[in-house]
């Protein structure tokens, strides 16, 4: 009897909670952020892989996002904070994270999503909730083509720039005639690898395709497939140590091909081939004398945490959102739609390139440029960009 009463009470409570949450959410579903009549304690939702196979990239991005918030709050006496959303590099999880942030009335903008797949599953939700999302690393072309997600923007160039940059360099400068292109079976690398393959084949370069799992650490059997006549292995990866292992295993098996890594492969402490290349969407601040002050400040902030290209780009994405929110709050009230409008009008100096201004699609005005670094015995120097 007691059990029955308890179950009925529980069911009643659950039903009340459902009705109450529906009433709060209103007819449009998400919370009504326009009613938030104060600009302090504004949260920015960080959406990226904080754990899982790409957790190290998300952690770097989060660290730079927090650094940006700390610097901005200090300089402008604001009280922005970062709310965490771990996608684990899984689309269904990213959708859950998106739903959570959409329904959190304090969240006024999304730092990210970091991965293209997380934009695909969350982009419409952010759009319907009028929530601005500014990514520092989602580079897939389709995210802005035809403007499917109207509140999405990115501070880095897209793969329509990266693909041709790599292809030009591989074919014209390295004069490669025989290339292997490897993807790591994720939404980032597969389209990029396919685009590079198509473009190289169009230029009469012989291309073989291979594929590895994102968390693979042994490529020795892939290397056995690399012929002795192959000049370059293009590896579209988000993991620098994977590119390093591939390079070592090519040497181990006496193959003369060099590795050309992309984006995530950029890491002077982890990708240290005897001879190799890497293309990346943002320059390395460690190698830029003009960035000494900010690198020093970040090292102080993070206790000398190692970083590559992903962190500084996310710093800029966070900065864009905070600038937009602060401008939108000039009248003491802040609504998500105002932040979206202000993000579209962004015109801020950048630590990773020219001033950040967005075109109508949410891409960088002018497209931006990718940087190619040549790596010799672990030493990086810019080759293009």
């Amino acid at each position: 009897m007691k059990k029955g009463v308890f179950a009925a009470a529980l069911a009643g409570l659950a039903a009340t909670a459902v009705v109450a949450s529906a009433a709060v959410a209103g007819p449009s579903g998400p919370a009504a952020p326009a009613q938030l009549a104060q600009c302090t304690n504004v949260a920015l939702g960080f959406v990226g892989p904080l754990t899982g196979p790409a957790g190290f990239l998300g952690q770097e991005q989060l660290s730079w996002a927090r650094f940006a918030v700390s610097e901005y709050n200090r300089a402008n006496r604001t009280r922005f904070r970062v709310a965490l959303g771990d996608t684990r590099l899984q689309a269904p999880v990213a959708r859950t994270v998106a739903r959570r942030f959409v329904s959190d009335r304090n969240v006024m903008g999304i730092i990210g999503p970091s991965e293209s797949q997380a934009v695909r599953v969350g982009g419409k939700l952010y759009q319907n909730a009028n929530l601005a999302a500014v990514s520092g690393s989602a580079t897939a072309i389709d995210l802005t083509k035809g403007r499917p997600y109207r509140t999405f923007a990115r501070v880095v160039p897209n793969d329509a720039i990266q693909g041709p940059t790599i292809v030009n360099y591989v074919q014209r400068t390295l004069r490669a005639r025989n290339v292997v292109v490897i993807d790591s079976q994720d939404d980032y690398s597969v389209p990029l690898a396919q685009a590079i393959t198509r473009a190289l084949r169009a230029r009469n370069v012989t291309v073989s395709r291979e594929s590895v799992a994102a968390d693979d650490t042994d490529f020795s059997s892939i290397v056995a497939n690399v012929g002795s006549n192959v000049n370059v292995v293009v590896f579209a990866t988000q993991v620098a140590t994977a590119a390093n292992t591939l390079s070592n295993q090519l040497r181990e098996q006496g193959k003369r091909a060099i590795v050309f890594g992309t984006d995530g492969a950029y890491s002077p402490s982890q990708y240290k081939p005897r001879n190799g290349y890497v293309s990346v969407f943002a320059p390395d601040l460690n190698l830029d004398p003009r960035a000494r002050a900010i690198v020093r400040a970040y090292n102080r902030f993070s206790n000398n945490r190692d970083f590559g290209a992903f962190g500084p780009a996310t710093y800029m994405a966070t900065w864009v959102l905070m600038t937009a929110a602060r401008t939108a709050c000039a009248d003491g009230r802040l609504a998500r739609a105002e932040v979206v409008q202000q993000v579209r009008r962004t015109n801020v100096p950048s630590i990773i390139g020219p001033r950040i201004r967005f075109d109508a699609k949410g891409d960088l005005r002018g497209g931006g440029t990718f940087v190619i670094y040549r790596v010799t015995n672990g030493n990086y120097r810019p080759a293009v960009g």
């Binding site: 754990t51 957790g55 952690q59 291979e210 020795s220 059997s221 056995a224 070592n248 006496g254």
Partner: protein, 315 residues
Amino acid sequence: MDWDKVVQLTVNGLTAGAVYALVALGFSMVYGILKLLNLAHGDIVMVGAFIGWGVLGWLGGAQDPSVAVWLLIVLMVLAAMAGCGFLGVAIERFAYRPLRRAPRIAPLISALGVSFFIQNSVLLLWGADFRGYDSIDLIDVEVGISWGPLSVWAIRLIVMGSAVAMMLALWLLVTRSKLGKAMRATAFDREAAAMMGIDVDRVIVKTFFIGSALAGAAGVLIGLVFFSFNYFTGFGYGLKGFTAAVVGGIGSIPGAMFGGVFIGLAEAFSVGYIEDFTRGRLGSAFSDLVVFMILVLFMLFRPQGIFGKPDVKKV
């Protein structure tokens, strides 16, 4: 047929297989004694890799080690074995022993919890970055056996040799020692073993220690030969080790050894030839499909594995 490629793939498969076999042994030993799938076993492998990394850093790093390279590797392996052995004992004491008389689903869920606990503890302690031993600074990749187009790096030889040595030592322990006899008796019938005067708790603790120590050694070998690992790496190796244990016959020590090598070779050859066999329809991305199809086929047609015996019950 490209025989150079075949030989190279065989070497690759044997190296990976030796590591899988060490992981599978831990699965098999624990299952044999407790009928428990220790889902945290892969994470113990990962902890072993981190302990080895810590010892390497403590002794000056790969570029400038303060002791001879062979001694450095031995110390890394021993430290990882000891650390992981005690970790295994702690897991058994706090996560599995209180549930020994609970329904079988309870320790399984507890094992899953332990797996997440270890992963997140390592994430908290060392972050999510990939770590590496930089083993090419210890022994250059060009040092080893070169025979025509075939080249085998010295580290691969060390990995295969030490894995085989550890497996032989374990086999001798289980078949020739008093402890081994107690382990076999406990695996056969725990209650009867207790009635014969065997301290079953102590045998289980020792089994966990040995199985986890082997996982720790596997972690160091993975770091040495495959260069990198992070807090999440253990999951994949755990899954492959489990597959190897099932294929060989879970609970059987020779089965685990055979299963490891079988899965290692299957994986290497599927990467090398899947595209040719499927006329370009499937690429190397599908090598895991082959490996786990083998698992499914064994579960369907020979669930006891190659070396296992069918579980006959009186009705």
